[in-house]
């Protein structure tokens, strides 16, 4: 049961990063340039998150390396399908099928 306390401590350091800008007074009445910066965070961080996930691999010893594989192709296919169909689900299905097939064939 003692690890419940660790879970609480992990929550205690996670929650402020989720809450502070939302709760802080005045954060919803910012100068236009700051508003514009915040609008651009969405595409910036989501693209960064996706790219780091598929292009950077960290091995068991903590070493990082650049990785080009079918995962990148799968993400690009997903983006193309989403742009075409305006729906995420078909894009995800295509990405999963592509990666699963590549791994089954030994390409990843």
């Amino acid at each position: 049961m003692e690890l419940v306390a660790l879970a609480v401590l992990m929550a205690a350091v996670t929650y402020p990063s989720r809450a502070v800008p939302l709760i802080l007074p005045g954060f919803d009445r910012l100068p236009p340039i700051v508003d514009e910066y915040l609008r651009l965070i969405g595409p910036g961080i989501l693209a960064s998150l996706a790219a780091v996930n598929v292009l950077v691999i960290t091995d068991a010893s903590g070493d990082r390396r650049f990785h080009l594989g079918p995962e990148l192709l799968a993400v690009l296919v997903c983006v193309a399908v989403v742009a075409w169909r305006r729906s995420l689900l078909p894009g995800l299905v295509c990405a999963v099928v592509l990666v699963a097939a590549a791994r089954w064939l030994g390409a990843a």
Partner: protein, 245 residues
């Protein structure tokens, strides 16, 4: 402007894949937690209270290696620092909402909830409580329930990576970014976010890279000149004739 029902239908359609992915990895997390010696209550507490995805996997690995709690807590804070950007980016949409509602909304703010909610708010032109709740629950419910299943039955299930399910998270993040790339500045933010994110991730580490990409992309994008149509839209917004934050 789309109606709320249409936006929620789209959100649910987009959320299905994300929910499946979250559930699959929570199964793995549950199994890993059990193998690391956590009781079902401890494993579940991590998912329901900390609700911290990658940080939970890292915590399990560090616990097994005997790393002190302080190290785990510091790593958790670093891994989750990117939520500051999500929270700041969503803040303008919460104008007029009570502090209690904002505090509750913060609890379910994750990568996926942000990625699902922001395009929905943009489509609606405003914040909608139920829409946000649906976005948050698409991760919270499968994450917590599948953690318990993983702790109880995880050894019976195949590894999600062999089924290609590990691609769902990055593909979903990239796919949901598509809806946010509405002009040259947003496209620049995305491209610079990718380049800076990957370079810094290779040099320093993935968490710092993601954060750096999320900070640098918009900063560089602000230097891109707006088109005349965008300038007009911004002026209209400042005079109150447009409702988008």
């Amino acid at each position: 402007m789309p109606d709320v029902a249409a936006v929620r239908r789209r959100l649910i359609s987009d959320g299905i894949g994300i929910g499946v992915s979250a559930g699959a990895f929570a199964l793995v997390y549950g199994l890993a937690a059990r193998q690391a010696g956590l009781s079902p209550i401890e494993g579940l507490a991590m998912s329901a209270i900390a609700f911290a995805g990658a940080a939970q996997f890292a915590a399990i690995g560090l616990l097994v290696q005997g790393v002190p709690w302080l190290g785990i807590i510091v790593l958790t804070a670093l891994l989750n620092a990117r939520h500051l950007l999500y929270s700041a980016s969503l803040a303008p949409w919460f104008t007029g909402r009570s502090r209690r509602e904002r505090a509750a909304a913060s609890y379910i703010l994750t990568d996926e909830a942000f990625a699902l909610a922001l395009p929905a708010f943009r489509a609606l032109g405003r914040y909608d409580r139920q829409t946000y709740l649906i976005a948050g629950m698409f991760v919270f419910v499968p994450w917590v329930s599948a953690t318990m299943l993983g702790m109880l039955f995880g050894e019976l299930l195949p590894d999600p990576t062999t089924l290609g399910l590990d691609i769902v998270f990055p593909a979903a993040m990239a796919g949901l970014a598509v809806a946010l790339v509405v002009d040259r500045r947003a496209a620049t933010a995305a491209v610079v976010g990718v380049v800076v994110g990957v370079v810094v991730a290779l040099a320093v580490g993935p968490s710092v890279g993601i954060l750096a990409g999320g900070l640098a992309g918009p900063a560089v994008a602000l230097m891109v000149r707006e088109t005349p149509a965008q300038v007009s839209a911004a002026e209209a917004a400042q005079t109150g004739s447009a409702g988008l934050p």
